[in-house]
């Protein structure tokens, strides 16, 4: 699948009656990706997370377009094609175990429970997440292990476009190595887009890297 975004504009309005200023997060961002692993670098606030949320169909842009294989891709379509691993790993149900959380989110993506469990176990092994931690309640996990569960949720969807926002956050060396392998494998059959402030890991993960600045993707410039 070839996914292309062009002229994406996103302005966040200030809170109702706050008297604040609108925030311009995307100012005509565009990129095209058809497979492999692509890295995106850029300073804090450059628009990387907003771009990912638009590509994931979680956020509707104010301008510009996204196409999948040349056809306009509405947010509903993007939510089917993509999986987003957000930069913070806390968007889970704390009273449920990691495995129960993964089963729940898999069900919403149409993955049967047995398949979800098998995928979770395989991915946990790669990311060096002990099986006992899959059975542990989410609020009892360390920050790094929460991040691993968040990565498993995204990878287990096996989407056409995988969006990984700061995926190395909190991971130890072994897990980082496992993640690099997972990205390489996923990049053979689908597209993987990732952000990282760690230049070394970004270079190791992505043969091609772009840079964002003030809401734009600087074409042809390395991170």
């Amino acid at each position: 699948m070839r996914l292309a975004a062009s002229g994406l504009v996103k302005v966040f309005p200030p809170p109702f009656l706050s008297g604040g200023e609108p925030a311009l997060a995307l100012a005509g961002a565009g990129l095209a990706i058809s497979g492999g692993v692509v890295g995106i670098g850029g300073a804090n606030g450059s628009g990387k997370t907003t771009l990912f949320k638009v590509l994931a169909g979680a956020l509707i842009p104010d301008g510009g377009s996204v196409t999948a294989d040349g056809d306009a891709a509405a947010p509903e379509r993007l939510r089917e094609l993509t999986a987003l691993c957000p930069s913070t790993p806390r968007a889970f149900y704390y009273r449920l175990t990691a495995a129960e959380n993964l089963r729940f989110f898999a069900a919403l993506a149409g993955i049967p429970p047995a398949e979800a469990a098998a995928r979770a176990a395989a991915l946990a092994d790669k990311l060096k997440l002990p099986e006992a931690d899959l059975r542990r309640r989410f609020d009892a996990l360390s920050e790094g292990n929460m991040q691993k569960v968040s990565l498993i949720r995204a990878f287990s969807r096996r989407p056409q476009l995988l969006l990984l926002d700061e995926p190395f956050n909190g991971l130890d060396g072994l897990a980082c190595r496992g993640l690099l392998e997972l990205m390489e494998t996923a990049g053979r059959t689908s597209a993987v887009l990732l952000t990282s402030h760690n230049r070394e890991l970004l270079t190791a993960a992505a043969p091609r890297a772009l840079r964002m600045e003030k809401g734009r993707v600087l074409q042809g410039e390395a991170a």
Binding site: A56, Y93, L96, E100, F104, L108
Partner: protein, 270 residues
């Protein structure tokens, strides 16, 4: 996977979360029992003094309020739980994660409160058990098919009001005027704790604008007065009219609210 599977996933999730708060589960059932006891003794204290207002229903005060509480407890679940569950999702940061999956909004809405309805059914069973074993209200005359029809029409109506109420949560997080009205006026003006005929004329007129008035009255007439469908047809028609307007309207308004939140980036906020 079907929408049923998605809804089942929500039920399973909420059951597991609820199960992890074991004491709360048991105390909920105990609170229902204690609540009933309060009205039982109020009924004993005042005896037949409200009899003229209760005459159309053929019930004493406790039997009236017992039925209304059981009924309103269930249909009120629809009115209150959508906003409550959505706010919970916002606060724990899972709303955006859930709505970033391919789940469709009707399935999301069905799943969001499915567990609450199952728990409300359990509470209904507590009412039934408490009624049968302890308080023994007179329900011999009940026309259960008519009551069931009122129940279904009312549940759809109140669930729709709940969905509309949750739109405010999607857009404004806190400050939900719809929930405020539902919480503070439905019980007062809808005839849950006493027949609306007790109210002064102008308030009686206001109560006619609320679906709860038709729902509670028709249910009481069916359960205590043994009224059949023909006898309560105007109340049933009023509820059906509310349903025709509110069911599709509420889903439409909710999808508009979510689209707006996706546009202004509020989906992930709390």
């Amino acid at each position: 996977m079907s929408r049923f599977s998605e809804a089942a996933a929500f039920v399973r999730r909420d059951f597991l979360a609820e199960k992890s708060y074991r004491l709360s589960f048991a105390l909920g059932a105990l609170a229902t029992f204690a609540n009933l006891a309060v009205f039982y003794f109020i009924g004993k204290l005042f005896g037949g003094r409200m009899a003229p207002h209760l005459a159309p229903y053929g019930a004493d005060y406790f039997a009236y309020v017992f039925t209304a509480l059981a009924f309103f407890g269930y249909i009120g679940t629809g009115a209150g739980s959508y906003a409550e569950k959505l706010r919970q999702e916002q606060a724990q940061g899972t709303l955006e994660a859930v709505l970033s999956t391919p789940v469709r909004l009707p399935a999301f809405l069905a799943g969001l409160t499915a567990w609450n309805f199952i728990f409300a059914t359990f509470e209904l069973a507590v009412y039934a058990l408490a009624g049968a074993l302890v308080f023994r209200p007179q329900l011999a005359a009940a026309n259960w098919p008519a009551a069931a029809l009122v129940f279904v029409l009312s549940a759809a109506c109140f669930a729709s009001l709940g969905v509309i109420s949750s739109c405010f949560v999607v857009l404004f997080k806190r400050g939900n005027p719809m929930a405020w009205v539902l919480n503070n006026f439905e019980g007062l003006l809808g005839g849950v704790y006493f027949p609306v005929t007790v109210l002064p004329g102008w308030l009686l007129w206001v109560s006619k604008l609320l679906p709860v008035t038709y729902a509670v009255r028709a249910f009481q007439m069916a359960v205590h007065g043994g009224a059949g469908i023909a006898a309560i047809k105007y109340d049933l028609l009023a509820l059906a009219a509310f349903d025709l307007l509110l069911v599709p309207g509420s889903v439409w308004l909710f999808s508009l609210s979510v689209a707006r939140a996706r546009r202004n980036g509020a989906l992930g906020g709390y």
